[in-house]
Structure formats: C-alpha cells, structure tokens
Amino acid sequence: MSEPILEIRDLQKSFNALKATDGVSLDLKPGQIHALIGPNGAGKSTLIHQIAGSLKADSGTIRFLGQDIGGLDMAARARLGLARSFQISSLAQEFSALRNVMLAVQAKEGSSFRFFRQVTSDRSLIDPAMAMLERVGLAHRANAPAAELSHGERRQLEIAIALALQPKAFLFDEPMAGMGPEGSKQLTTFLDRLRHEAPMLLVEHDMDAVFALADRISVLVYGRIIASGTVDEIRRDPEVRRAYLGEAA
C-alpha cells in the first residue's frame, strides 16, 4: 500500500454546543477518489473548510504529503498543492473567466509581487490558462466576466482554476450541485480521468456520480464517520442504510 497523500486524525470542531466535527479520521491515497457523503448538516463542508484552512480545527491533526499543515493558513496550504472548489462558486466576479484562471497560473508559476510586466500580454500566463479552459470546455467563454457566466459554467470555471494549480490533491465540495443530468454525466467522466493527476476528496450528493467514481466512501453523520469502505461495503452497511433510509437495523 502506498502512503496517504492526505491523512486526517481525530479532528474535532465545535460551534458552541454543537459538535460539527467529532473525531474524524480519514486517508486519501494516490490515485483515489474518496467520496464523503452524508445527510444535510452532517458537517461535510465544515470538514472541507478545516482541511483547506478556512476554518481552524479545535484539535486533531491534518497531514498533507507527510507535513502537519494544521497551523498553516489557506494560502499556504494551497501553495503546498491543495486545490479546492467551493460549494457556492467563489470567483473574482469582475474578472473574465480567463483572468480568473490566469490568477491561479500566476500563483502556481511564481511570485505575485511583480509590478511591471503586463498580464494581458504575458503568454506564460495566458496560454496555460487557456489550455485549462479548453480542458473543461469553457474556452468559448474565456472573455466573459465571471459574473455573467451561467451556474454550470461557473462550476466548470472553478474546476479549471483548481486544475491550473496542478495540485497534489483536490478538495471538491459538491461540484455537481445544480448541474442538471447532462452536465453531471459529463463532469463524472471528467473527474474519473482526473484521479490519475491527483487524488480527490469529493463531497457530493449525487449518488449516481458517487457510486460511479468513488474508490472509497466515508459516511458522515452528525460530525462522525459512521462507516468507511468500498462502494460495495458501504451499500451493504446496516448503519448507513439506517442513517440514510431510516430502515430498522
């Protein structure tokens, strides 16, 4: 077995009396898509926030590529190679789609503290950014301001930005949300191929997509992982059936 890229141990996070994350441990291994499922309010997004660094965990460790990243801020974690997409699209609204991706290329490629060379004529930013837009099928909208993109296009743009970072791991928070059946199917095929570039922690409600993609599934209920295993193991797990379907165990 290969070493996990991302290793989470006994993570805890409370908001006042509410335990949003209650002793979560999980591993993300190379080549894997690890899906995180669970009912609404189970704490999936809270967990992603803690891994990405936009929320600080109360206790527990997060190791990424063997390094403890618990004390790093979001930008530092991103620089190490942790790329995320947001549940609700988070883009630079006034910038064009291309310029949003160029920002990621510039972050990946080197310093942002350069004050003279103009980005609009900088092929070393434009070309890779354009290539990413082509990969996600958004090249025809390269010059549209992010604010004018449709919901589905915004999701595609989020993924193009994550790709441009050439990350060591992806954190995707409901990338299929609001995509429609056709869009979801396309994205499923796309993500399926992506696993060979970097492993992926995937929060998703679309169970068809999850069962088609996931190598492993963890089920989160009330901040706890109640089951973790392969797709088949999870399908058969009585606890999961009870949590999800309300069946008597």
Partner: protein, 323 residues
C-alpha cells in the same frame, strides 16, 4: 482607443495647457491653482491604489500626506537654520532628496499601521485608519519642536536642479511631470501580476487565498505603496504652500482625498485627476460666490453620492472594462 482613454488624454492636455496659457497672459494665480489640482490629484492617485484597486477604504491617508509635508518642512527648516537633524545629518533644500525622504517616511509609518489595520475589514478598517491618522494629528499638535498647532513655514521654496522653483510655472511643470509618472506607475501596477492579485483581493479575498496568494500581504504592499505616493504629494503640497501644519494631517483632509476619488470615478486611472479638477474648481467658483461654499459643496457631494455613483468618468465613459 477607448472613450475613457480619449477623455483621459483630453484631461491631461487641458491640465497642461491651461496654466501655460495663464502664465502667458501673466496670471500666475491660475498657475498656482492648477498646481494645487495636480498635487491633490497626486495624493488621490496614491489613495486610489488602495481604495480603487484594492477596495481598502482608508480614512487615514491624511497621515501620509501630512508626514510627507512635515518631511519637507522639517528638512528645509534644518537646512535654513543650518542645524543638523540628528547625529550630524544636515537638513536639505533639494527637492529630489526631500521626496525620497517623504516617500520613505510615509512607507515606514504605513507598514505598522497597515499591518494592524488590515487584520480587520469593513467598518473597522475605516475607523482604525481614521484613528491612527488622528493619533499622528494629535502628536503633531502637541509636539512643540516643529511648530505644534501653528505649523512650520518654509521660507524659501526648496530647489530643483536646473529650474527656478520660486516661479509658479516651473514648479507647476515639476508637479505635473511627477503626476504623470505616478499615473504611469498606477497603470503599470494595475495591469501587472500584483495588480491582478490586488483587484482579486478586492473582489474575493477567499478566492485569492484558495489559489495560494495571501490576501493580507497583497493588501499590505498596496497600502504601503499607496501611502508612499500620497506622502510624495504631501511634500509637493508643503512646497506649494511654503507651509506645513496639522491641517494636512486632519481627518477633513482624509475625507477630501476620498471625495476627490469619488467625484472623478473610483478605481479609474484619471479618476483622481478629474476629481481634483472638479473639486478645486468648485472650491474656487463657490468660494468666490459665497463664504458658505462648504455648505453647497456638501449638497453637491451628497447629490453625487446618492445619484451619480460612477463619478465624472463614470458618467462620461460608462462601465469600466476588465479584460
């Protein structure tokens, strides 16, 4: 050429031509008035970097304006009295040297102020920058060595190699060239990688952090650069009036700099220039009609904020474009 570029060129040409004509007709007063426009515009170009590009609503830029002014005043006074500043370092009356000191002082003070203020956002940021500026204002008032409440006079305008700065027109030209250089720098920064990051920080700081660029650092650098430009303007302003006093540090000054930007158009290259032209004209025209000109200035400003949100350039050239 876009419409906005055409308007910008027209404004620059107007700003250069009017004082030349005025000087030709023997009306030095108007040359001085135009110099006031140029220097205020320069101060606002500095603020525009933080406020327009970075969305940082600094209500304390008078601090940097005043510090630049005091740098000029203090250096000139020491040179005039032939007293060393400290440790045997003499004062100076050389403008380029004074400018460097003004820029450095403004930047050095902006660093800790920015580092503390940028930990906060929104209204807190507005109030804290205001409070820090007031701190420096009260310090200037209660510190008697450099005039305290009365301020400092610069008896002879500082010198620039090869030009007679005592004449209004050469001094105007110096200030005009500095303003154009600052506008060029602003344009370059806006289009650079740093400018991209800064504008992204304004639009969505979380997005910027998520690609691995720390918004705090970007904002802090912008804040410091912005203060440096405004500090330089302060040195020029002190030389223009041959005087520097606590009023340059007052919160009215901070408010005025914001007003200039809004009058002209926030975040636009020539917004501060258009704003300063309008402001100084209003001040001059209204001031000629009534002693109560601030009352009417207030009404006009209120009308612009409530009903003409893009400012002058917004009215004339429509929405800004981002490529």
């Amino acid at each position: 050429m876009t419409r906005e570029t055409a308007i910008n060129l027209l404004l620059a040409a107007l700003l250069l031509a009017l004082p030349l004509i005025a000087a030709g007709m023997g009306e030095p007063f108007y040359v001085t008035l135009a110099t006031r426009v140029v220097v205020l515009a320069l101060a606002a170009v500095g603020l525009n970097l933080a406020l327009g590009l970075g969305g940082l609503l600094s209500f304390g830029h008078a601090a940097f304006f005043g510090l630049g002014g005091y740098a000029a005043g203090i250096l000139a006074t020491h040179a005039f009295n032939a007293e060393p500043l400290f440790a045997g370092i003499p004062g100076t009356t050389s403008m380029p040297l004074i400018w460097l000191v003004a820029i450095a002082v403004a930047g050095l003070v902006a660093l800790p102020i920015g580092a503390i203020s940028l930990r906060t956002t929104g209204v807190y940021f507005i109030m804290i920058t205001l409070a820090f500026a007031q701190m420096i204002y009260y310090f200037a008032i209660s510190w008697p060595a450099y005039g305290g409440e009365d301020g400092l006079s610069i008896y002879v305008r500082n010198s620039f190699p090869g030009l007679n700065t005592a004449q209004p027109l050469p001094y105007f030209l110096i200030c005009f060239v500095v303003l154009m250089a600052a506008l060029l720098a602003f344009r370059l920064i806006e289009g650079s990688r740093f400018g991209s990051a800064l504008q992204a920080a304004r639009q969505n700081g979380v997005r910027l952090a998520a690609v691995g660029i720390p918004p705090f650092k970007v904002r802090l650098v912008a804040f410091v650069l912005s203060a440096m430009i405004t500090g330089l303007a302060g040195a020029l302003y002190a030389d223009l009036n041959r005087f520097v006093g606590p009023s340059m540090l007052s919160w009215h000054m901070s408010g005025e700099l914001m007003v200039l930007i809004i009058l002209g158009g926030k975040g636009r290259l020539f917004g501060p220039v258009a704003g300063a032209m309008i402001f100084v004209c209003l001040e001059y025209v209204l001031g000629g009609i009534t002693e109560r000109w601030q009352f009417f200035l207030g009404l006009i400003l209120l009308g612009i904020v409530l009903f003409a949100r893009g400012g002058f350039l917004g009215l004339l050239s429509g929405k800004p474009r981002h490529v």
